[in-house]
Symmetry: C3
Subunit: 267 residues, 3 copies
């Protein structure tokens, strides 16, 4: 099963793992501000995940203030959970502010598989050039019209000129030119609300310090997965897991990342 370029691919994967460790260091040094338009269920956990990771969260939605909050931030997250008129108005201003200030922004199209109009709205947002799209298989299916596979995810990323970070038992990352898989993570992650939302916020934090969105997205997903494994080792269920996850994001160090990352380039 060895690809002709397997050796250089393995080398690249090792490089991404090293880049992840260095990115964590840069992130903690910079303490980037990440503004989040996110759902009511996820706000607290997302803010704590960002703080533990080394970033500075803000969550204001008011149309009168959000433009300035984004302008003084380093990255923006737009998460479509509990979407409503207030969040729709906030998103319009926030994305406009991000685009004008050249800030990276990340889209997390929560539950687009449950309501067609939310999927249509997400498709419109994708025209406003998010750097990364983090989602799960059901959400990918609703946006792309087909179940995700390595090839479909890569094709979608290429067609929309963004990096896709697809969460699942194996995470897939693709930007149209590169594709990879992350094998880290733990089943308890699916039993805590807002875990995916927080992961998307960590992608935004990584893009605040890493211009290569493929590397930034891969780094965030590796770190989230490794932290999940560390947390699961201490947890007695999803309640203690959630708080151990925040601890793990805080104590995560470069050596642990290098030792535990399961990252593989696909081509």
């Amino acid at each position: 099963m060895q690809h002709p370029h397997a050796a250089s691919r393995d080398q690249y994967a090792t490089g991404v793992t090293a880049a992840t460790a260095s990115l964590l260091k840069r992130l903690r040094a910079k303490a980037p501000r990440v503004h989040c338009v996110t759902n009511a269920v996820a706000q607290n956990f997302t803010a704590n995940a960002l703080l533990a990771f080394g970033a500075v969260p803000s969550m204001t939605l008011s149309g009168e203030e959000i433009g300035e909050f984004v302008a003084s931030s380093d990255a923006l997250l737009v998460n479509l959970g509990t979407f409503d008129r207030e969040r729709r108005e906030a998103t319009a201003i926030a994305v406009d502010s991000a685009v004008r200030h050249g800030l990276p922004w990340v889209l997390d199209p929560v539950f687009v598989d449950r309501v067609p109009q939310r999927a249509a709205y997400a498709r419109d947002l994708i025209f406003l050039a998010p750097k990364a799209l983090r989602l799960n298989a059901a959400e990918f299916g609703a946006l792309a019209g087909e179940k995700p596979s390595r090839e479909k995810v890569a094709a979608y990323a290429r067609a929309h000129n963004l990096t896709v970070g697809l969460s699942g038992e194996i995470d897939l990352i693709a930007d149209g030119e590169r594709a990879a898989a992350v094998g880290n993570g733990h089943p308890l992650m699916a039993k805590v609300t807002a875990m995916g939302c927080a992961a998307s916020a960590l992608v935004a934090a990584c893009l605040a310090v890493e211009p290569d969105a493929f590397i930034g997205t891969a780094a965030a997903m590796i770190m989230t997965g490794v932290a999940g494994e560390m947390a699961a080792a201490r947890a007695q269920g999803p309640g203690s897991f959630a708080s151990a996850m925040i601890d793990a994001l805080y104590t995560l160090d470069e050596q642990t990342l290098v030792d535990h990352a399961k990252f593989e380039m696909h081509r």
Copy 2:
């Protein structure tokens, strides 16, 4: 103090305890979707309680989406905490959708004892035929105009054609024909915000898999109480208790329920 029908009553109680254990199994197999109109303080804890229990929560309030969310759910919770215009509009659409699709819905009239117009609104909602009403003594007093007792709770349930689940040191459950008490629980449950709100969501989850609302409500209250006892055994205060409660809902098994349930039929 033995009632002439004490033996058959005890047998029925044993049957409810067994039904609770089997309901938990069915619930985890089905993973019912529970849509929640709930208060801002309770959203995160409620979502985590539902996930730990084996259900799939959604929390959208937007009038444009909530009808479809409810239509693709298996049960609905309406909780009146932090009630506002958005939640009032959401509730109208959500309850209408639940009624049209024949889904069970549960009302939790939070803090109706603090504001008369909220009590009036709750009384209006009760005309829309919730299957169960979960509340505490002060809230019962505000709705029924008198302090709860076994007889008053049974009379209220009969008059309004629903199941009442009244939380307290001893929980009372009544549907007009049957009445029972649950002795499980722990005082720390009253020191964690949203504990009652989450319990109401678990009632909704149980009604998603159990057509007999008396059995479903009793099962939810037994399971909440037993989980509370398991959590208290590990807790050092209400903070660690809250996360241990989520763990306990996740690890709850049929044998533990049968061993720990304190359930008694009143007639």
Copy 3:
């Protein structure tokens, strides 16, 4: 470095520490109701902190209900995080209700350093006579136009006829006549979202049982700091710290306060 009045100052400090211990007892006996206009990120943690401390939180924002909620409360908190139109309208009614009923209210001007119009709004609110203003150095700078120092904080408190509680490595408390420092606390407190917001809610809870706002604010900041130290001793990161903090507020006792308080009068 001994001040001529050092001895009486030390005596006063010892008196405040004793007053703190007695205040905690009174607070738990009264279980004051504290209504909170607070941000979406902080609502759950703030409610749990208040419950653990011995108070009864409510969080409704609806203009139709908030006046009555405040009227039946013992203190009000206004926190400017995630401020929006709904919170602005709620604040107008809530503060009016507090003033009319003679209830103490506390202002926490979150993130006024990020948006000039939020600072302007906070300045307007200060004309409505909050008893205490709890904030951090950046927020003080945005309101006062200069970095905080012992003198600046005291001058600001005097000019605005309120008690300032400034959080930092060393907390400063001043009411224009008296000034003090609290040396309790732990760096993990800055890594948990809503920790400052919860501290402000505890100030409101203390003012509900203590008419001297300087003493009440000092007591809340001492207790928050001591609880933070107790929590840190058990924590493995900010996730477990947050839940240990709630435990510590619940288990805090008078002897621990007397033993651990680091309180110093400045004049």
